[in-house]
């Protein structure tokens, strides 16, 4: 059980890293793109617009917690 929790924590830190909010916002952004694309709306612009905002937010959080 302990081994499993260490294994899970390793992969969490490997993929998600220091800021879980980035992962959540990326998933929301991709989901919104998929919804718009399924509705027949050109949706390629959404993620490029969202990513700088997500990065800025994550940088502010990192600086605040430093």
């Amino acid at each position: 059980m302990k081994w499993l929790s260490r294994f899970g924590r390793f992969w969490w830190e490997f993929v998600i890293g220091d800021d879980w909010l980035v992962a959540v916002l990326v998933v929301i952004g991709i989901g919104a793109t998929a919804v718009l694309a399924a509705a027949g709306v050109a949706a390629w612009w959404l993620l490029p617009l969202a990513v700088p905002f997500v990065l800025w937010l994550s940088l502010r959080r990192a600086i605040r917690s430093a």
Binding site: I30, T33, L36, L55, L59
Partner: protein, 252 residues
């Protein structure tokens, strides 16, 4: 070779190169402080584990439908790339200390020399585990990048070729100089890798979500330019903010 393929090879080369430089520092520290036998045994054992992972996961990934693969790989690369980019921007703007291979090497050597000598199966256990863990952890990132990049672009071999070229270069120089490669512009390379991971992450996530890029694959160049632009803009903004903060601190 298409634009996407060229980016694929270059990205795999740069990302793997950074990881190999870090792995080399650990293997050198273990070798010099605890003996080459244990260090090379650790390196060999980690390489076998990584090869088994590639052999098991590589064919499995190619069996997944491309759109499903691209949305998962795109999301993973985007999250992973934003981690790299955040650290690189924090370093470039002065909020985080620069990565210093010489300092890391000195710390690893000091820790390795201070550890107790325990021999198991004819090798020094500390030297073996230090090299094994270092190579395995750095190598996992290489495996992750090669498999995700390669499978989403439809050519694991091209990504593996980029990584192999980086391995030959770093190992060759490492054997020649027998010292950490501190003159490699690692911070700049990490910035470039963050930019490329984020670019591919955006590109494949959008395609995987079912949206079409205007201009098809050529849009990759536009996304790259955009990511470079906003990354440098964020560095500039944070540098200016930090300078203002320091000036205010001095004046207070």
């Amino acid at each position: 070779m298409s634009t996407g393929d060229a980016f694929l090879v270059l990205s795999a080369f740069l990302a793997s190169g950074v990881e190999f430089v870090e792995a080399l520092t650990i293997v050198l520290a273990a070798g010099l402080a605890r003996g080459w036998r244990s260090s090379l045994a650790g390196l060999g054992a980690a390489t076998i584990v990584l090869a088994v992972l590639v052999a098991a996961l590589g064919p499995a990934l190619t069996a997944i439908p491309l759109n499903a693969l691209r949305i998962v790989v795109g999301a993973l690369l985007l999250v992973f790339g934003l981690q790299w980019l955040r650290k690189a921007i924090l370093r470039a703007s002065g909020y985080k200390a620069l990565h210093d291979e010489d300092a890391i090497f000195a710390r690893e050597i000091a820790e390795a020399e201070g550890a107790a000598h325990v021999e198991r199966a004819g090798v020094d256990w500390y030297g073996f585990t230090l090299a094994f863990k270092g190579v395995l952890l750095e190598g996992l990132e290489v495996v992750f990048i090669v498999l995700t990049f390669g499978s989403a672009q439809g050519s694991i071999w091209l990504a593996a070729a980029g990584a192999a070229a980086a391995l030959v270069l770093v190992a060759g120089v490492g054997i020649a100089v027998r010292a950490p490669l501190a003159r490699v512009p690692e911070n700049a390379m990490k910035f470039a890798v963050g930019v490329m991971l984020t670019t591919f992450g955006i590109f494949w996530s959008v395609e995987g979500a079912g949206a079409d890029w205007p201009g098809g694959d050529a849009a990759l160049l536009g996304v790259l330019g955009f990511v470079v632009l906003f990354s440098f803009l964020l560095v500039r903004l944070l540098r200016r903010e930090r300078t203002h903060l320091r000036t205010a601190e001095v004046q207070a």
